[in-house]
Symmetry: C2
Subunit: 356 residues, 2 copies
Amino acid sequence: MTGPGRQAQLIGTGLIGASIGLGLRHVGWTVTGRDLDEATGEAALAVGAIDRIGRNPDADLVIVSVPSGSAVQAVEEALREHPRAAVTDVASVKASITEAVEAPRFVGGHPMAGSEQDGVAGADPSMFLGAVWVLTPSDRTDPDAFALVHGMVTSLGADVVSLPAPEHDLMVAMVSHVPHLTAATLMSLASRRSEDHAALLRLAAGGFRDMTRIAAGSSAIWPDICADNSAAICDVLDDLIAELQGVRTVVETADREGLVARLEQARAARTNLPLRAVGAADLVEMRVSVRDEPGQLSLVTTTATGVGANILDIEIAHSAEGDRGVLVLVVERPAAERLAAALLVHGLVVSIGQLP
Amino acid sequence: MTGPGRQAQLIGTGLIGASIGLGLRHVGWTVTGRDLDEATGEAALAVGAIDRIGRNPDADLVIVSVPSGSAVQAVEEALREHPRAAVTDVASVKASITEAVEAPRFVGGHPMAGSEQDGVAGADPSMFLGAVWVLTPSDRTDPDAFALVHGMVTSLGADVVSLPAPEHDLMVAMVSHVPHLTAATLMSLASRRSEDHAALLRLAAGGFRDMTRIAAGSSAIWPDICADNSAAICDVLDDLIAELQGVRTVVETADREGLVARLEQARAARTNLPLRAVGAADLVEMRVSVRDEPGQLSLVTTTATGVGANILDIEIAHSAEGDRGVLVLVVERPAAERLAAALLVHGLVVSIGQLP
């Protein structure tokens, strides 16, 4: 669904926007970009992230990469200005924007990649290689818009993970937001204690450096993230505080078995933390017959995520009559069988074929 | 103080012991080693970490690298079996062993380096290059024993940081023990939540991986560490829990300024986290006249740590009369001036000279 001839419009050409622009131009898209900050737009042009500054009303796809506080407004505006285009965004919290924007042509997105470097200077299309890029289809999502956004994401080398927006928000609170806040808290504590013990920070070896690395990032995005996702963040923080109190009891009472049990559980989980699934070796094409009605796309894609199936490509074949269609998915073989089984449970007709 | 002709005895030839053996043999020491586990001793011999298995009563230096639960006993035994040797250990907690062992020839040590790989198979003398290796001299410590251990450590490429044992223990609780327990707790929480949300761990990107990496390490050493250092660990855990509760309030009340203040403090501290001081460029020799009495060595070396002076080499020149001596230190120039000023405050006479 990507390739020569496609036209993209970037709204916001900072670090993420410019990185997307570089990547899309590399695979043959024509990219027009604009940014509220004139210098940022010019910098994006200078590094080759866009073909020209301005508006392209004929764009097939609009990518909104603005601070999350103004994302809803920018997306609504993009939908009005581009009445046929698919529109996506890159904000780190998804439930609020997905609820606020009702248009079926909008597909919420969250590339889980970044850089400690701010701005266009850090732009790098390889940022997305092997990264997870969450899409949050809802019952309203238009399959063609979804397929276009999906194709754009995979053409940048990222893996699409489709999730309901509220589930995404809870998950990123656990694996991103609370870890970030915890790293910053540990770093501040150590720094404060080092005022009395000058040598303390010299003792901070590899493990401490690894744990606190993310605290070196810019703080600018966090007030919006914490405001948008405060319920999920507080929920995870409550769990973390309760667990740390449990650890304290184990340490204070010298409960050796309790300690080892906790650490072994963590060790097993860390060792099993999935690396990126390397694919392209044994891929199959799955054809899923769906009714042309709300929720079918969302059902198929989030079911795929649920069984760990990585959708590498997605196309929609509409039937002539208009009431049915076929989703054509490219997935890895072992996951394809799990996915087919899960879709059958939902009453969907699935066929699997070898790719040519 | 190191070099050809020196003889070392290793008690315990696992990961750390074997790594030390490899490094010492490389700089010309003759190394004898033994381990309660026969296979471990043989493996150390096979990888070239020791010249022979057994006991060398003429060793100048005994290095005890055994599980910390049996370290006191092993050190006491080494002191009896080697009546003239300096004895050091590598346990991660230092106050208990430093209090328990009264002999002036014992110098507590803690190399802050390691590997996720257990056992002789992971042995690697480069493990210590650029690492911090804490020594915990006390008022009882014999200067010649200290200088020998110091020379051994620097010959392995590590930087010596001298600290009173209780201060060391509080610091490692902050930069090592509590971060490890926190990483394990975050990993376990994420793992438990992923039982309901299969995709959760796929969303764990670089930051989460960095933060939880240390949780993949062996859990075997932690019951002893937590038992030996429980007071300091509980103290730091209390601080961490209180701070996380503060973060929760900031998030819940959408206190944007409070959040940014916390994150900016952490960011500044992380950015300023010292890297290893690269030296050898502009070194000076400092001669410190000291009385041959308890506490002088400990005073000089921990004062150096207090002003951030890295002692690259240390020798003791005893006077003929026996009541006075000279500590000859090699330090980097800017730190040398701070150190001289701090020592003058303590009434010590200092001279600084260029190295040949």
